[in-house]
């Protein structure tokens, strides 16, 4: 018996080996290497030999005002886009869930932005929000609200807002699909029982739907937060971090430092600071969700 299970283990191991090897080679190894890089002097002057410099890269990052600008931008981006995507996604999911005809059509229509390429969508947004773009044309020539063109892309918050609108627009469809699946898991008899008890729609939503899809909300929340921190393409394509890095996010700043100024050690440190922040946030999110669980149980 024992030999057989050992044989099994070997077999299992052999079958896992290719996947494990790829994972180790392309995920684990780069992470370790990057971690070491963040403690080394790794730039133009030291491409061949890297000196261990301890926490100096981290100190440099934390003292850099551009890093903090990009950090704040990323936090704001996440704080704005995550809740809005979730609320709008859930709203659309409930609407689509409620209709009998054309459900598939609406699902597809709402999902289309998700499968649109980030680059193409960003370029189109840029075109719309250009100083001489479609939006300004509409505002000044059609609606006559403004006399002169508004410089949407040329200041920090308005430039970021354009990227945020793009992020939300592109995210709604994904949220809808996930929430739609969750909504269909909520037992119908609960709604029927609530209807007998005389609940109205709003009560049903807050007492049945929301608790019923809580797990999904947490999942989406964590995923979107990570996604928000990863915002890169839209910023790079729409403002390119301009003016003077005021619209940079953590990733575009990291990319700039690594590939335009050759400070790989610095960028590695940025990436670990970002990973650390995300880790803390995930713990916080799980805790918050669990507390809410307990409260609900106590109320119930």
């Amino acid at each position: 018996m024992k030999t057989k299970s050992n044989k099994n283990k070997i077999q299992i191991f052999l079958l896992l080996l290719p996947g494990l090897a790829v994972f180790c080679f392309f995920t684990v190894y780069p992470i370790i290497k990057l971690f070491l890089m963040s403690f080394s002097k790794w730039d133009f002057t030291s491409m061949r030999q890297q000196e261990f410099i301890g926490l100096q890269n981290y100190r440099e990052v934390l003292a850099d005002k551009f890093f903090w600008t990009s950090f704040t931008n990323t936090i704001v981006y996440t704080l704005v886009t995550v809740p809005l995507q979730m609320i709008l996604g859930l709203f659309v999911a409930i609407l689509v869930n409620g209709i009998k005809k054309f459900q598939v059509t609406f699902r597809v229509l709402n999902y289309l932005p998700v499968i649109t390429s980030w680059v193409i969508a960003s370029l189109i947004f840029r075109y719309v929000f250009n100083t001489e773009g479609l939006l300004n044309y509409f505002l000044s020539q059609v609606l006559h609200v403004t006399a002169s063109n508004i410089r949407w892309l040329d200041s920090r918050w308005s430039g970021l807002t354009v990227a945020m609108i793009l992020g939300i627009w592109k995210g709604i469809g994904w949220n809808m699909v996930i929430f739609l699946a969750a909504l269909q898991q909520v037992p119908i008899d609960l709604y029927e029982a609530a209807a007998i008890d005389g609940c109205n729609g709003i009560q049903k939503f807050f007492k049945i739907t929301l608790p019923g899809i809580k797990g999904t909300i947490l999942f989406v929340w964590v995923m979107l937060t990570i996604g928000g921190f990863n915002v890169f393409t839209s910023i790079k394509m729409i403002t390119g971090g301009n003016p003077a890095h005021q619209t940079d996010t953590i990733l575009t700043w990291m990319y700039y430092k690594a590939f335009s100024t050759g400070k790989f050690g610095y960028s590695a440190a940025v990436s670990f600071i970002m990973a650390f922040t995300l880790g803390i946030m995930a713990i916080f999110q799980f805790k918050a969700m669990r507390n809410r669980d307990r409260e609900l149980e106590e109320i119930g």
């Binding site: 002057t45 491409m47 840029r126 250009n130 001489e132 892309l153 050759g262």
Partner: protein, 421 residues
């Protein structure tokens, strides 16, 4: 359906077989002739006439003159080539020779991957003597030469003939004339659209240096070790001040993300003037063939008519097969190769090529004069960071966060520190 599938399967098999045959062929030893292959990385774009000349004219000629040496030329995007060399330096997989933007050489030199040609090549003086001194100065870092000038360029004034004529403005030859022309050419056109007298697509050294220098200002001292007293000197401050106030008056734009792109704005009569390089001629020819425009030297200020020098050097990496690489570098800077490249718009740096009739009559002829007075940006390793700080400082002035004097004083402090690194 079935037939289709069968056909696909057969096609796949054929492709796989032929691929393996190619692979087998590539792997079979070729020891009959001792052949050396040198890798040459460049950023002539893959579809360009330059690349065509390189692959179909220059390399075959070089290979027939130097039997036993093969050249493997690889085309990259401009920015990608820079990054690729950076990364390859770390992994030790550099090419033998590369065509590098003159701004990159100090960085690469500091990484310790370039060959000091004047030390290692006994006939260096003969070879470099045939090339323009201004071009060779871009390859000189501290006391040694790390490359050969390959081609050069600078920016001169492009103006929209119709807009100048309509506004009754003469082509400016001095800085004062330029400033009043920029103001006179701005406003709204017949369609009620805003027009600008000047387009400047960025706030970097490439954009601002011609103004600073022509106003008599400077970036650093001669030795490129100190910036205080140079970038914040009265002349430099006046140059930036003039630039910013033109922007604030709505007479100049181009560096904002939302602005009309340079070629389109100039081609559609929205930007009246700009300072641009020889590549713009072909670009305008392609995109706006009917546009009537003229070119003129950079208007002269107190510092004279000083434009900014651009261009490329050809450099050898220290992992190269040096003898063959050096031969190829000499070939690329020879008058034959330089004249061939001049036919596609690359301005030669070889002195005898510059005397050739093809070169003298080329579309870039107006640039040849400007190159004589043009200056290079600081050839220091920290330049890309300094350039970024310049952009940040001028943006702060434009946003009204700092006065020009304040911003440039701060910038000088930051630059001083970068220059000592």
């Amino acid at each position: 359906m079935n037939k289709k599938k069968k056909f696909l399967a057969i096609m796949l098999a054929v492709v796989l077989l032929s691929l393996s045959a190619i692979a087998a062929g590539a792997m079979s030893p070729e020891n009959q002739t001792e052949e050396i292959t040198i890798d040459f990385w460049h950023h002539y774009s893959a579809q360009s006439a330059e690349n065509e000349t390189l692959v179909n004219v220059l390399i075959p000629k070089f290979e027939s003159e130097n039997p036993g040496i093969k050249v493997n030329a690889v085309s990259h995007e401009w920015a990608e080539l820079h990054n690729k060399i950076l990364i390859s330096a770390g992994t030790g997989s550099l090419p033998d020779v590369a065509r590098c933007d003159i701004a990159w050489l100090p960085e690469f030199q500091k990484m310790g991957v370039l060959v000091p040609l004047d030390q290692e090549m006994p006939d260096f003086a003969d070879v470099s003597g045939k090339l323009l001194e201004s071009a060779m100065s871009t390859a000189k870092i501290q006391d040694h030469y790390y490359g050969l000038g390959l081609n050069t360029n600078t920016k001169i004034l492009f103006y929209n003939e119709k807009m100048l004529k309509d506004a009754g403005v003469a082509v400016p030859t001095t800085m004062d004339e330029l400033i009043s022309a920029i103001k006179a050419l701005s406003g709204t056109n017949a369609d009620g659209q805003q027009v600008w007298g000047w387009d400047e697509p960025g706030l970097y050294g490439w954009n601002l240096c011609p103004f600073i220098w022509s106003f008599g200002g400077s970036l650093t001292n001669e030795d490129q070790t100190v910036a205080t007293g140079y970038i914040n000197s009265p002349a430099s401050v006046k140059a930036i001040d003039t630039f910013v106030s033109l922007y604030k008056e709505g007479a100049l734009t181009g560096f904002n993300s939302g602005d009309i792109p340079m070629t389109d704005g100039f081609g559609t009569n929205r930007y009246a003037m700009m300072l641009e390089g020889p590549w713009k001629i072909a670009e305008l020819q392609g995109a706006y063939p009917d546009l009537a425009y003229g070119t003129a030297p950079m208007p002269a200020g107190e510092g004279g008519s000083v434009s900014v020098l651009g261009g490329e050097d050809i450099a050898m990496f220290n992992t190269a097969k040096k003898e063959a690489a050096w031969k190829f570098m000499q070939f690329m800077t020879s008058d034959f190769a330089q004249i061939e490249m001049a036919k596609c718009g690359q301005i030669p740096v070889n002195k005898s090529a510059l005397e050739d009739a093809t070169v003298k009559n080329a579309a870039f002829a107006p640039f040849l004069e400007a190159i004589k007075t043009a200056k290079a940006r600081p050839t220091v390793a920290a330049w890309s960071e300094m350039d970024n700080e310049l952009n940040v400082a001028v943006t702060a002035i434009i946003n009204g966060e700092k006065t020009t004097q304040q911003a440039l004083d701060d910038l000088a402090g930051v630059w001083d520190q970068l220059l000592t690194q």
